[in-house]
């Protein structure tokens, strides 16, 4: 998938990728998103489910084997990590720009 098509990441995707630096299944992702953002970001179940499908398709995350066949476990891929870093770098530049100008 073309890099420029993925960047910038939406807040939903950025947060999911951050939570998936460690493997997690669907509901655990929802909880981590909640904890990570101190309750600021509340992601709804249907939104997360669709986002996970798209992220797998774009190869930003991948499935890992789990004991429970009814709960798929995902983890960020190397490519996903690369994209996450690239977007973080983009935002860092934006922030330093803002710090200078404001």
């Amino acid at each position: 998938m073309n890099r420029s098509k993925l960047l910038p990441l939406t807040e939903t995707v950025y947060t999911i990728l951050l939570t998936l630096t460690e493997p997690a299944h669907g509901y655990a992702i929802l909880q981590r998103v909640h904890e990570l953002s101190d309750g600021d970001i509340r992601m709804a179940a249907g939104t997360l489910y669709g986002a996970l499908e798209t992220l797998v398709k774009n190869k930003l995350i991948e499935r890992v084997d789990s004991d429970d066949p009814r709960r798929k476990v995902y983890v960020i891929s190397d490519y996903g990590r690369e994209i996450l870093r690239a977007d973080t770098e983009r935002m860092r530049r934006m922030i330093s720009l803002a710090d200078r100008e404001l």
Binding site: R42, P69, R71
Partner: protein, 209 residues
């Protein structure tokens, strides 16, 4: 003894309108147990229920089970539905929405369009197939005489013509129906797809407002 189940015939394309209706039924004491067009409801405690709609088809049973498990983990009890899915929130005080952004909410319509598109392709395929297999097609509908196969029928006169004409009429009508069924179906499905696309656009525009 009062009835404990209720059957209602309805057809919805608009997910928001359907959701509103299903929730009204629930607050009147009727909880959905089967999706449309022939809806079934069972008695429930009248009052506040939070029921939300998703649209998803799963090609594999394992994927569907995983989806339902994830929804259950997240506080959504599956009430009914194989492609249009009806969920009731088991913890409405924590989260009462299935989608937290407008984009994922309107993507339901995109999945509907894809599902209806697959049906449309089948109808078009059968339209082509009937035409090829039986030697008549959509254009024959404009010239129904071709549905009669009796040799020399249209040159016959008087009683002989009537005898052959009325004998073959039911067969000709069946042939006509066979030829008309698929293109008519394709047109209807095509109209539905356009209406869903308009709903999707309307639901996308609410974000910008």
């Amino acid at each position: 003894m009062s009835k404990n189940t209720l059957t209602k015939l309805r057809a919805f394309l608009d997910l928001d309108a359907e959701e509103a209706w299903i929730n009204r039924m629930a607050s009147d004491g009727w909880l959905i147990t089967k999706g449309g067009p022939i809806y079934r409801f069972a008695r429930t405690e009248p009052g506040h229920h939070v029921i939300r709609l998703d649209y998803r088809k799963h090609d594999r049973r394992a994927n569907r089970e995983e989806y339902l498990q994830f929804m259950a983990d997240s506080g959504w009890r599956h009430l009914a539905g194989k492609s249009k899915q009806y969920f009731e929130s088991t913890q409405p005080e924590i989260g009462s929405e299935l989608f937290s952004d407008q984009e994922s909410r309107s993507q339901r319509y995109l999945r509907m369009i894809k599902a209806f598109g697959a049906i449309l392709l089948w109808f078009l395929y059968f339209t082509w197939l009937t035409g090829r297999g039986a030697g008549y097609s959509v254009s024959t509908l404009l010239n129904p005489r071709d549905f009669f196969l009796t040799p020399g029928l249209w040159q016959m006169q008087g009683f002989e013509f009537q005898r052959h004409f009325y004998f073959e009429l039911p067969f000709a009508m069946l042939r006509g129906l066979g030829a008309a069924m698929w293109p008519i179906g394709a047109v209807i499905v095509g109209i539905l797809i356009v209406r869903i696309a308009l709903l999707r656009r309307a639901s996308n525009q609410t974000t910008d407002a």
